[in-house]
Subunit: 209 residues, 2 copies
DNA sequence: GAAAAACTGTACCGGCGGTACAGGAGGGGC
DNA sequence: GCCCCTCCTGTACCGCCGGTACAGTTTTTC
């Protein structure tokens, strides 16, 4: 019971790194068992096929992802009262966390899955979709709190605004990986921060009035 | 000579659609030749291996991509004189073009390649990197023209601002695909447009003064 | 110490990427 | 009318990989 979990985790660790570098189709089971130091039979004891591995990988990734956002934004919430300032601080903390990653962001499994849709069953695609909807829900909640206090200087749809956070994150990851510039992702988060600031912060002129 | 080009193009067409749906690793040569109606020998006459296919695919994709941006933004340039208004119009045209795609954006090969890095040789990764740098260069040029006339309301690095266009595009594609909501991409472009507008347009308050 | 969990070993299948090589159809130039 | 070049087809083969099957063994847990 306990030992099994550990091996399973080790397989998932190796698999996650491999999949983010080579995609699902480019990652062979043989290579995973070689690196994990397990036999093929051992692998199939834990996962009945590659699809099941993908499912476990994606679920674990999403859980971890959610946990990180929970931590960052609840910490920002604790430090600052105002919802706008708290969100801006959260983005700052996020960008710092991302720029502290030594080799850059390893890649997002949700993006990997969406570029592999036809290879997986409906359950995985549904899980993936729900992960993006959860991001939307999370950021939407934050923008609702902000909009209860501030009025945006331009009309925006709140869901689209929430999605923009996810979009800049995903896009930033792609750029960072393609450019081999780890910092690009953190910089993009800060660009997004500038946008949110501009959108909600009363202008100097208004304050003067 | 003529016939060969045609077959080659047909292979690339089939391969591009397949790769964007299943990734490189998930796309088999056998399936490509089945759909193209060609034999395996015929395929290898045109491309000596999968890596060469990837190279041709990526180069063609990038060229086409550049062509589309050229058309859209030069058209916007013709219609409007002011560099800011011209860029905003370009984003509008781009979002319209994207929302007119019946099945949504099929996916970006540059993103696919960056999630497959370890599978390809250095040449392909370099090509991919240069494609992203070309986007940066393109949008940087536009923002330079804008900044010659307008002053941003918040301090921004011009390269990061240029990268944000690419980031929102790439991120929007990921979200659109994952959510199965074709419109999300177009909406994100318009969100970016709102940002650029806010960043450069003199506020109402200033105009009143 | 027994039962259950967590594996190992072996043998096998079919699909796929890739190689090799021989040969043929069709068109353009001489 | 012949030749050569491009553009393929056909056949045979290799080794890797995903996956199956299943019997046997070690390790953990209670």
């Amino acid at each position: 019971m306990r030992k099994g979990e550990e091996t399973r985790t080790r397989i998932l660790d190796v698999a996650e790194a491999a999949v983010l570098q080579k995609g699902f189709g480019g990652t062979s089971i043989e290579e995973l068992i070689a690196e994990t130091g397990i036999t093929k039979s051992g692998f199939f004891y834990h996962f009945k096929d590659k699809n099941e591995l993908a499912k476990a990988l994606l679920n674990r990734y999403i859980e971890n992802d959610e946990r990180i956002y929970d931590e960052i934004f609840s910490r920002a919430r604790d430090l600052v009262d105002d919802p706008l300032q708290s969100f801006l601080l959260g983005l700052k903390l996020l960008s710092e966390l991302l720029s502290d990653l030594p080799n850059g962001h390893p890649g997002c499994l949700v993006a990997t899955v969406c570029y592999y849709e036809r290879l997986f069953d409906r359950e995985i695609r549904e899980t993936n979709r729900n992960a993006v909807l959860a991001w939307r829900h999370r950021f939407r909640g934050m923008f609702e709190e902000i909009m209860a206090v501030y009025t945006p200087r331009e009309p925006v749809h709140i869901d689209q605004l929430a999605d923009m956070v996810s979009a800049v994150l995903e896009g930033g990851i792609v750029l960072s990986k393609a450019l081999k510039e780890p910092n690009t992702l953190a910089e993009q988060i800060l660009m997004l921060r500038t946008f949110v600031k501009l959108l909600f912060q009363p202008s100097v002129e208004v304050l003067r009035a």
